[in-house]
C-alpha cells in the first residue's frame, strides 16, 4: 500500500512537468485556436541547447534551467515565424501540417547534432527526502517546485501585465483586439516566445529528472502533452495544471499495476473516458461552441 502511495507521489511530482507542456499547448491554442504540434520537440531542443551552452560556458548546473528557457523562447519564436506567421487563416490544415513538418525538422536536427546518442543532463540535487513513511526523490521535489514557480510566473504575466491582458483579449476577440490597437502579430509572437520558454524549462526538468535527454522522448512527450491539454480542456491553463498532475499520477499508477509496456494503453483509455464523458475537458469550454 505504501508503495502505491509512494508511486503516486512520484507521479504527481513528475506530473508538474507534464503540466508545463500541457500549458504550452493550451496557451497557443487559446490565443490562436491552432495546435503547435512541434511544441514538445522545440521544448526538448531548447533543453538540449541549454545544456550545450552550460557546458560551453562551464556554469553552475542549475543555470541550465534559465538557459533552456531562453533557448526554448528563441525556438518558439522561430516556430511562429516558420509555421504560423505567413500561412493564411483560411488554411487551418496548412498550419497543422507545417508544425508537423517542423516537428520532423527539429527532431532530425537534434538526432544529427547528437549523433543519435543520449546526452547527459546535470542532476540538480541528489538524495532523498523522507516524509513520514514516504521517500521522495529530492530532485523530483525540486522539479516540482521549479515547475510551480514557472506556472506562477506565467499566471502573473497573464493576469497582471499589459502583455498578458493583450494576450487574453486577442484570445477572446482577435478582430476587436486589433481595432483597439493591439498588434496581432506581436501578441502571437509573444505567446510563442512565452510558451517556448515554459517548454524549455519543462525540457530541462525532464532531462534532470531522468538524467539524460534523447530524441526518442519527443514522440511520447508530444502525445502525453496533447493528452494533458485535452483532458484539461483546450485553452484552460488551470485545467492543464490539474490534468498534468492527474496524468503524471495515473501514469505511475498504471505502471505500478500493469507494468511499463501496458502503461500507455491505459493512459490512452483515460483520455477516451474523458472524451466520452467530458469532451470539453476538466475545465474547458463547451467543445461544440469552440
Amino acid at each position: 500500500m505504501i508503495d502505491l502511495v509512494q508511486t503516486l507521489a512520484d507521479g504527481l511530482l513528475f506530473g508538474a512537468i507534464y503540466a508545463l507542456i500541457g500549458i504550452g499547448f493550451t496557451l497557443v491554442f487559446g490565443v490562436m485556436h491552432k495546435i503547435n504540434m512541434a511544441y514538445a520537440a522545440a521544448s526538448l531542443a531548447g533543453a538540449y541547447v541549454g545544456v550545450v551552452l552550460l557546458k560551453l560556458m562551464a556554469l553552475l548546473p542549475w543555470l541550465v534551467i534559465p538557459l533552456a528557457a531562453l533557448a526554448g523562447a528563441a525556438l518558439g519564436l522561430v516556430v511562429y515565424y516558420l509555421c504560423f506567421r505567413f500561412i493564411p487563416l483560411s488554411a487551418p490544415l496548412a498550419t497543422l501540417m507545417s508544425t508537423v513538418g517542423m516537428l520532423l525538422l527539429i527532431d532530425e536536427i537534434v538526432v544529427h547534432a547528437t549523433a543519435g546518442m543520449p546526452v547527459n543532463y546535470p542532476t540538480l540535487v541528489r538524495g532523498m527526502v523522507r516524509m513520514g513513511e514516504l521517500s521522495l526523490r529530492a530532485d523530483l521535489i525540486v522539479c516540482f517546485l521549479v515547475a510551480v514557480v514557472a506556472m506562477a510566473a506565467l499566471l502573473h504575466l497573464l493576469y497582471r501585465t499589459r502583455l498578458g491582458l493583450a494576450t487574453r483579449a486577442v484570445s477572446q476577440q482577435p478582430v476587436a483586439a486589433q481595432l483597439c490597437g493591439m498588434s496581432l502579430g506581436q501578441v502571437n509572437a509573444a505567446t510563442f516566445t512565452i510558451s517556448g520558454a515554459l517548454g524549455g524549462v519543462a525540457g530541462a526538468l525532464i532531462g534532470s529528472a531522468v538524467g539524460m535527454l534523447s530524441p526518442l522522448i519527443v514522440a511520447p512527450l508530444t502525445v502525453k502533452g496533447l493528452i494533458v491539454t485535452v483532458i484539461g480542456g483546450l485553452g484552460s491553463i488551470p485545467g492543464a495544471i490539474i490534468a498534468g498532475l492527474l496524468v503524471g499520477a495515473a501514469e505511475n499508477f498504471f505502471q505500478f499495476m500493469r507494468g511499463v509496456t501496458e502503461r500507455d494503453i491505459y493512459v490512452m483509455l483515460l483520455l477516451f473516458v474523458f472524451l466520452v464523458f467530458r469532451p470539453g475537458g476538466i475545465l474547458g469550454r463547451d467543445p461544440a461552441g469552440t
Binding site: F86, G101, E108, N188, A219, P287
Partner: protein, 336 residues
C-alpha cells in the same frame, strides 16, 4: 530493377494510406488514426494467410473489413469531439492500437516452428508471396491494380452527389444538416471507408514486407497518411497520388545520396510547401485552372484568343499582380 519495383510498391501502399485519410478529410475530420487501421488490416490479413491458410484476396478483404468495423466504432465517439480535439483523440487511438500489438502474442506451431505475432518482435514469416511463386513484378502489378480500383472508386464518388455531400459536410456542418444531410451517417461512413482502405493498405504491406511489427504503424506513418492529401490538395484524388509520388519517389529515394539528411529535408520541405502553397499541390485554384484548360482545349476560338493574350504579355501582368498581392498579404496579415 528490383529497386524500382520496390519503390513502386511503396508508392502504391502509401497512396492507399493517403487515400484513406483523404476520404475522412473531405468531411472535415482530421484523423491521425489511419496508421492504426492499417495495423489492424495488416495483422488480420497476415494471420489469416499464415495461420489459417487463406488465399490472399479474401484475407485482404477480411483485413479491410475488420479495420472498417473498428473505424466505424471509432467514428461514433468521434462525432462528439470537434476539430483539434479529434486530432488528439485519433492520435491517441492510433497509439493505443500500436501498443496493443506491442503486447499481442498469438502463435501456433506449424511443423517445428512457431508462427504468428509475438509482441514487440512482431509478426515474421508472412511468406504468402514467395510460397506461391509471385515475382516482385507481379506483386507490384497487383498492388497497383488495387490502388487503381480504389482511386477509380473515389474519383467516381467525388464526381457524384456523395462527393458533393461529403465536401458540404466538411465545409459547413450546420448548413449541411439544414439541407437534409444526416451528419452522423456521412461522417461515420467516411471514417468507415477510410478504415477499409487503410486496412487494405496494411494487408498488402504485411505481405510484401513479410515482417511487420508495431513500430511500422507509428505516429510518423499516421502523419504521412494525412500529409499526402493535405500536401497534394483536397480537390481530387490525383493530388494525393502526386504528393505520394513526389515525397516517396523524389524525396526519399531520389535524395538517397543525401543519406541521413533526407528526413531533415522532408521536414523542411513540408514547412516550405505549407507556406508557399497552403492549399496543396493540386489546390482548388490549380484544379480550376486545369479545368479551364480542358474546356479551352476543346474550343479553338477561345484557344486562339488566349494565345493572343499570352503573346501580348497580358497574361503575365496578371501573374505579376498576383505575386505582388501575395507579398502584400504577408506583410499585412499576422498569419493566424
Amino acid at each position: 530493377m528490383d529497386f524500382y519495383l520496390g519503390l513502386l510498391q511503396i508508392i502504391g501502399v502509401h497512396t492507399l494510406l493517403g487515400l484513406s485519410a483523404y476520404v475522412v478529410l473531405l468531411t472535415g475530420q482530421v484523423s491521425l488514426a489511419q496508421a492504426g487501421f492499417m495495423a489492424i488490416g495488416a495483422y488480420v490479413a497476415a494471420m489469416l494467410t499464415v495461420l489459417a491458410k487463406w488465399a490472399l484476396l479474401p484475407a485482404m478483404l477480411a483485413g479491410g473489413s475488420v479495420a472498417a468495423v473498428v473505424a466505424c466504432l471509432v467514428g461514433f465517439p468521434a462525432l462528439r469531439v470537434r476539430g483539434l480535439i479529434l486530432v488528439v483523440a485519433t492520435l491517441a487511438f492510433g497509439e493505443a492500437v500500436r501498443l496493443f500489438f506491442f503486447n499481442f502474442d498469438y502463435q501456433i506451431a506449424m511443423g517445428d516452428i512457431r508462427v504468428g505475432p509475438l509482441g514487440g518482435e512482431g509478426f515474421r514469416q508472412i511468406r504468402y508471396f514467395p510460397e506461391n511463386g509471385w515475382t516482385t513484378f507481379q506483386v507490384m502489378v497487383f498492388i497497383w491494380l488495387v490502388v487503381g480500383t480504389v482511386m477509380a472508386a473515389l474519383w467516381w464518388m467525388d464526381r457524384s452527389r456523395a462527393g458533393a455531400v461529403l465536401r458540404a459536410v466538411g465545409e459547413d456542418e450546420v448548413a449541411a444538416q439544414s439541407c437534409g444531410i444526416n451528419l452522423t451517417a456521412v461522417k461515420v461512413l467516411a471514417m468507415t471507408a477510410g478504415g477499409f482502405i487503410a486496412g487494405l493498405a496494411g494487408a498488402i504491406y504485411a505481405h510484401y514486407t513479410t515482417h511487420i511489427e508495431q513500430g511500422n504503424f507509428n505516429i510518423m506513418v499516421a502523419t504521412f497518411a494525412i500529409a499526402y492529401p493535405i500536401l497534394g490538395g483536397l480537390s481530387n484524388v490525383f493530388g494525393t497520388l502526386a504528393a505520394v509520388v513526389f515525397i516517396q519517389g523524389f524525396l526519399v529515394e531520389g535524395l538517397r545520396f543525401l543519406g541521413d539528411w533526407r528526413n531533415l529535408l522532408f521536414g523542411a520541405l513540408i514547412v516550405l510547401a505549407m507556406n508557399l502553397r497552403p492549399g496543396g499541390l493540386l489546390d482548388a485554384r490549380t484544379t480550376a485552372a486545369l479545368q479551364r484548360l480542358r474546356i479551352l482545349a476543346r474550343d479553338p476560338a477561345a484557344w486562339r484568343r488566349v494565345m493572343g493574350q499570352l503573346a501580348s504579355g497580358a497574361a503575365f501582368s496578371g501573374a505579376h499582380a498576383a505575386v505582388r498581392r501575395r507579398i502584400e498579404s504577408w506583410r499585412g496579415s499576422p498569419g493566424a
